[in-house]
Point group: C3
Chain length 219, copies 3
């Protein structure tokens, strides 16, 4: 059992911060889509918890943590209500939200990978589930709001690559027996920094070779 | 084990009525989207059983009841075939369909909450899963038909609030040890009446504060 | 335990061919949607493995085979990279891809049905899960790419009917105790041939009766 890389209190606090910020991004998209208070809260819940719920279903850890830890469930509701009343203010601190979202990305790819490994999954599957934990909620958010998932779009800064790097580092650390609070935190920080650099410098992943025009084929 | 709030025969009959009506709504959307007979049946199945299947996956009750109870599976097929041949007639009795749909909403939020509680989930999670049972199938229906889920749209009468009230009442009844056939039926009836009132008076949930125009941001 | 209808090596080889071709169709849609290399690989993975993963979740076989068999997981990545570099060439051999896709359809409806039966599901549920195994990945592919699932569209050649026939044949073979490598292969071949005939002759399923115009109601 390697999952206690942080003390329970620290883990819980970090989780709740990540969940809160992911939920903000769900709530803000709901506001932009002109949804009502209920749509805002549903999208906040789905964005914040969707990745972890899918991971838990896939590893057979039912009921998912989102349904057994009351804090996990209530935090997105709080974020939804904050967005409902204060969405112009939340939009205005967009840079702060993006920074916290990148922190959530780093944290969840690490904890998701560790949890998958703890449930007996292999290295590659654990990396995939770490990425799913970090990025899956955003995909559910976009599908529910009828948007092409930003994860898949070429015109968005890379999101999956930082998660891939973080998850891979954790898997290597587990394999060589050096997963500690310090090394796990470092892996999360590296994913976080990569995401921030991607945002700052507009890093994008390449599209298929030999496309004649830049927009052709886009819907 | 509190799940036997109705006698098995009564429970099965009520379930099948609810499943049939939910399936009609899926089939009718498929017709409006110009889908073929197969699309009609798939959307009927997904709408009628999707909420319960997601609940069963989340509480770890696999295979879901929809795959072990033949009546649950065949009823949506019958509804799909009815819609295929008689969709103008079914559209014409829309008020009857909406009334039966509201009955299904009331029934499924109650039985979903009870089943979640029976599987050891806490009060808040049981309420959430009761709502998911009642409203989840409609979300899957809309996503498969490429529509913004009507559950999330501000311009539709509230659907989640009646389910929330019904599920919460059941959870309180369980907590105080008074869940009986009569009280559970009452909770379902209250959810049903709330939904009917919402339809009659056009109750809608508020959107985020300070929106300048009524349609801006809507896709 | 009837699942060993093929020798493990033959089964694995057939599975990987089917997965590879399903992944190609996911990758090609991603290219048409102008997604980046990461979107191509995600759509390749989701298309190739989505049906089997949903089946495994529903029958309670967690973690799904896609996460325990490294070949299953890596094959779609290879297909994604092939599409990334060679998509014009892959598009050009579209007839070959469609033929292999039909083979995958035949194979997966058979193996999916057998696996569901092995996990104790009844005849009807096993047929449904066989169809889900064969067609579910394509639905996830289309939803992620914001397309109406081609499975549900009237203007696409029938895809579900061949799977339905194949799955039903397998269920009958199991019921009468004659499921062998030869009979299972025959069921898969019949599904394959039906799909090829549907493509060749443009077989489409009927839409709801009495539609006045051919395009009305389509979005």
């Amino acid at each position: 059992m390697t999952s206690q890389i942080f003390s329970p209190d620290v883990q819980q606090t970090l989780d709740l911060i990540g969940i809160f910020v992911f939920a903000l991004s769900g709530g803000l998209l709901a506001v932009r889509k002109n949804m009502d208070i209920f749509g805002i809260c549903v999208l906040a819940e789905a964005t914040a918890l969707g990745g972890g719920v899918m991971r838990d279903l896939l590893i057979g850890a039912t009921p998912p943590a989102a349904f057994t830890n009351l804090g996990y469930f209530l935090t997105p509701l709080v974020a939804g209500i904050v967005v409902f009343f204060l969405h112009p203010e939340v939009e205005r601190i967009n840079r702060t939200v993006q920074t916290l979202d990148a922190l959530g990305l780093g944290l969840f790819c690490v904890t998701g990978t560790v949890k998958a490994h703890d449930h007996g999954l292999g290295a590659v599957a654990s990396v995939a589930l770490g990425m799913l934990t970090a990025a899956g909620g955003g995909v559910i958010r976009d599908v529910l709001a009828m948007e092409t998932p930003s994860l898949l779009r070429w015109d968005r800064e890379v999101y999956a690559v930082p998660a891939l790097v973080g998850s891979t580092l954790v898997t290597v650390l587990i394999a060589i027996g050096h997963l500690t609070t310090v090394t796990a935190s470092s892996a999360a920080m590296i994913a976080f920094v990569l995401r921030m650099l991607a945002l700052k410098y507009g890093w994008r992943a390449p599209r298929a070779w030999h496309r004649k025009s830049t927009r052709a084929g886009e819907d």
